[in-house]
Subunit: 202 residues, 2 copies
């Protein structure tokens, strides 16, 4: 088993934190995304979307998509549970993880993709769309601050994959100057707590 990884991007960090929380060690192979290694053969022959990370299983299967990789490890190493326990809790954790993806991580990533030098010539950038996403991301952090007024973690009273997604999204905002505002005390309290876990440096 091998994890195709990159220290630069937010999605591989999600999987590294998930593995660290479960105390699982997987050998990694660094993919040179700055050099577009992930956009060329042989990488795209096995992962046509070109994303990182990918988990190569022992039978040679390539498993892409961060949350699909996390789900594999949740099934094979259930403790500690990071994706909920029982039907209702699992569904609610999935809801919160998806909200953290679509409303926080993806919005913040779209600001970067559509405005940063790194993506020039790699994708058709639309700066106006990036700025619209910046507006959404900023509002969503205000909302998340209020949500965190009444509970310890994003999906309830226990650390889950939804916290990992939110952390990786918010930290990736720095490069686009999206930050937790000084008056967002609940979000700041949560961010300090999750950043202080040993897994956060994975």
């Amino acid at each position: 088993m091998k994890l195709y990884d990159s220290p630069m991007a937010p999605n591989p960090r999600r999987v590294r934190i998930f593995l660290a929380e479960k105390d699982i060690e997987v050998p990694t192979v660094e993919v040179d995304i700055a050099g577009a290694e992930n956009r060329k053969s042989p990488y795209v022959d096995r992962n046509p979307m070109g994303g990182v990370p990918v988990l190569e299983l022992d039978d040679g299967t390539w498993l892409a998509e961060s949350v699909a990789i996390c789900r594999y490890f949740e099934e094979t190493h259930p403790d500690p549970p990071l994706m909920g326990e029982g039907a209702q809790d699992r569904a609610l954790v999935e809801m919160w993880n998806r909200r953290m993806e679509s409303e926080v991580l993806i919005m913040i990533a779209q600001v970067f993709r559509n405005s940063h030098e790194f993506f020039k010539g790699r994708i058709p950038q639309v700066p106006e769309y990036g700025e619209a996403c910046r507006g959404v991301a900023t509002k969503r952090l205000e909302w998340l601050d209020q949500e965190l007024a009444s509970r310890e973690f994003v999906a309830g009273d226990r650390f889950t994959i939804a916290d990992i997604t939110a952390l990786c999204g918010i930290d990736f905002g720095r490069v686009s100057k999206i930050r937790i505002a000084p008056d967002q005390k609940h979000l700041a309290r949560w961010h300090e707590a999750v950043s202080g876990r040993p897994s956060a440096t994975a």
Copy 2:
């Protein structure tokens, strides 16, 4: 238990097809999305993102996000399995479902959101971004056609949630004039088969 539903949008259709495949009946409440009922109180008090569908559970909990709702029913009504069986298969179905979401359904929905009259004044539309998404969606249908050359369904030899997501995405393309091209024989064969299942009319 109640499902907040809308006949207009692609995401509620995903859940209706999923339920039909499992032969589960849930009472529905129609949300007037044309009248923006889902963007106002009391709806947004319980689902701040304003999306449809939402499943109201018997304890009053509101469960949003289509795939989270599907996961709830997959756990409570495992037969027939639509999200895979066993760790590796579940992860691969998740990978394919996520690819069908981010590369097909969301790309096609972004064309609609950023160019259609319906969203004028509702969101900041960026037509140039919509057109970029049209280009991506068109390429992704070419890719999916080739993927389907070697297998019956999107995630393998059995119908899964990934087929439901792809079907709802592709059918939603009609309103933006995104269609299966005449030379995409594999995609057309698959589309005819999945559209012919009784669940497709749910």
